[in-house]
């Protein structure tokens, strides 16, 4: 599943329309739009640190997130003193929480179509800050009010390579003329490149997800049966499951070996002592 976290509705509107997302009231009090078929869920987090962290954590806690099969993408607008032009779109490789000075680094494993920049998450609007370039750097430094907190909440659910932060530069601190329509138009301008990026993430998820659940189920079924019929202790069970896993990987015909043992009336066993003996025989027939 792709989980998008965006601060305000006017930022999210082009994505809600593109992916035909419908409001899902089951996440109340958080505002969520979703399209189950497309496996996309969009959280409108609200602006600021607390809103970003609590809504991402609150929604993710309700989702049944399977490891390695999800991405969290924070998309939004930002400000900068050093960026030469507004309307540029960036992906953030370094995120600093200005209040705690803690810095976070998303894993830049996958290719993306964006320029890279670092971002500082502040508790106040960039336009209201006294020092607008505290690092005195010529590099592009972006400012927003959510990214570091989306990261910190997301880190309970996602690995560093499963979170990304895409920001569109809206202003240099002068907020005059920054209207909801202007923000929507900014995101709209980049909807194709954002869509391309989301499609890429979905392709990656599709590839990862191909690792067969069906085969894993067969492996588990055999393990459960043998654990029962060998009267396994906890230690034996752990060892048996490892043997089964290895046989499945190496295409060793464990089913054939087990069938033969049933035919020879070696299983099911009556007690743990017999089970232990039969397990030793099974191991020696497998390796």
């Amino acid at each position: 599943m792709i989980i998008l976290a965006m601060a305000i509705y006017c930022e999210a509107k082009p994505l809600i329309e593109k992916y035909r997302l419908k409001k899902d009231e089951s996440y109340m009090p958080f505002t969520v739009f979703a399209n189950e078929e497309k496996e996309i869920l969009l959280i409108i987090t609200g602006t600021g640190n607390a809103a970003a962290a609590s809504s991402v954590a609150g929604v993710c806690a309700k989702l049944d997130l399977k490891a390695d099969k999800n991405f969290l993408v924070n998309i939004g607008t930002c400000a900068s003193a050093s960026a030469s032009a507004s309307d540029e779109i960036y992906i953030c490789s370094k995120i600093t929480d200005e209040s705690s000075k803690r810095t976070f680094y998303p894993d830049m494993i996958y290719k993306n179509p964006f320029k890279e920049a670092e971002i500082i998450t502040s508790a106040v609007l960039f336009g209201n800050k006294n020092d607008k370039n505290p690092q005195n750097t010529s590099d592009t430094v972006l400012y927003d009010m959510e990214a570091a907190f989306v990261w910190q909440a997301g880190a309970y659910f996602f690995a560093p390579h499963e979170m990304s932060f895409v920001k569109i530069l809206s202003d240099n601190g002068d907020t005059e003329g920054i209207t909801p329509d202007y923000i929507t138009a900014l995101v709209e301008n980049h909807i194709n490149i954002i869509g391309e990026y989301i499609n890429r993430l979905r392709d990656i998820l599709d590839d990862i997800s191909c690792a067969g659940d069906e085969k894993a189920a067969k492996e588990k079924q055999l393990a459960d049966k043998l654990c029962r019929d060998l009267c396994c202790s906890k230690t034996m069970e752990y060892e048996l499951r490892q043997y089964i896993r290895y046989c499945f990987i190496e295409n060793i015909d464990i089913n054939g070996v087990v069938c033969k043992m049933y035919e020879e009336n070696m299983m099911p066993c009556n007690d743990k002592r017999e089970g232990k003996k039969r397990f030793e025989q099974l191991k020696s027939r497998l390796l």
Partner: protein
């Protein structure tokens, strides 16, 4: 068959998805101006440089996937602090040297061996290079004031694999040449003929080549040199009079292990006079149970990792019969060519 397909599917995730090798280089601010940092950064003009306070801020993040990171490794340039030289670990072969140490001027390896303990030991698959090598030299020098030192310099990495980028093996060789009480071992699975051609023989520098059958190399030792390349390097090293060791360690089990290890051995003895080697070590795969726990989670489809090892006092190894058969067989092969005192067998603890 499906498992193999799954594994291939995972391995074949379109290469397109991934950033290139060292696409991102993280640099500790404190070493940003050091000559080695500048020299290395100049080799990667296309890379994104990200300045950081401490390497652990990146290297030690929780929930990293070292397997994924190995597909597109990034580099972290840092300063090594505190422990610069370590006493040799009990599972490591000391080759009879009393004062056995190892050092890690680089953490992680650009090779991608599925069974490598580094995948279980480190929280990240990214490479860390410590550019304060002189501090490590100072620490070794202090030890040398007390006693001779046997030092493995390429243990938690493969320095020769990245010699063309970092040039650290040459620095160690130069340092060892100035300190006769220091004996260094440089272990590799790389093809390093160019480097070997440029090195003069020295009594206290040992080149150690880990040898595996081609079947094991192609299945588990991704990106490493082929058996033929490794044999060519050994031939060259011996011709030049370089002290050379080979390690049949770790031996990795497969159903037809006897035939693949026999074929490998025949290939080696067909081109190399084993008596010219300094020594030969033999040992089957063994690993700390703690590391293996991490690796099993990360590599669910690796036969080398998912083998049902036996756990003895916190160390996993092959079941006694397999371990004994494999090691005894290899020792018997080697014994046909060299005296027993040149064969170092991993001290196994059978139960």
């Amino acid at each position: 068959m499906i498992r193999e397909k799954e594994k291939r599917d995972l391995n074949n995730l379109k290469a397109d998805y991934y950033n290139s090798f060292f696409s991102h280089i993280y640099v500790e601010k404190s070493v940003a101006d050091m000559p080695d940092t500048v020299r290395i950064l100049n080799k990667f003009p296309q890379s994104h440089i990200i300045y950081i306070d401490h390497y652990k801020d990146v290297f030690c993040r929780s929930r990293q996937s070292s397997v994924l990171q190995h597909r597109t490794q990034n580099l972290i340039i840092a300063k090594k602090e505190n422990n610069l030289v370590y006493a040799g670990a009990p599972v490591c072969q000391s080759f009879g040297n009393e004062h056995f140490y190892y050092t890690s001027c680089m953490m992680n390896c650009v090779f991608d061996c599925e069974y490598c303990y580094l995948k279980g030991m480190y929280p990240s698959g990214n490479v860390v290079l410590f550019v304060n090598l002189d501090d490590i030299f100072d620490e070794v020098y202090k030890l040398l004031q007390k006693h001779p030192v046997y030092l493995c310099v390429s243990y938690d990495t493969d320095l020769l694999a990245v010699e063309n980028i970092f040039g650290y093996t040459k620095k160690w060789v130069d340092f060892a040449e100035r300190h006769t009480d220091l004996k260094i071992e440089i272990r590799t699975k790389s093809s390093c003929e160019k480097f070997l051609k440029e090195i003069a023989p020295s009594d206290n520098i040992i080149f150690a080549f880990t040898m595996s059958p081609d079947e094991i190399i192609s299945k588990f030792e991704h990106k490493t040199a082929s058996l033929d390349s490794r044999i060519s390097c050994i031939e060259l090293a011996l011709d030049k009079g370089l002290k050379t060791r080979i390690a049949f360690d770790p031996m990795i089990y497969c159903k037809n292990w006897k035939s693949v290890y026999t074929d490998m051995f025949d290939k080696i003895t067909g081109r190399i006079d084993l008596n010219k080697l300094l020594d030969i070590s033999v040992g089957t795969f063994r690993i700390s149970a703690e590391y293996m726990k991490n690796m099993r989670k990360e590599e669910p489809f690796s036969a080398a990792v998912q083998f049902p090892y036996k756990n003895d006092n916190g160390y996993y190894h092959y079941p006694d019969e397999i371990m004994r058969d494999m090691e005894d067989y290899m020792v018997s092969l080697v014994s046909r060519y060299v005296e027993k005192d040149k064969i170092f067998l991993w001290e196994r603890q059978e139960k």
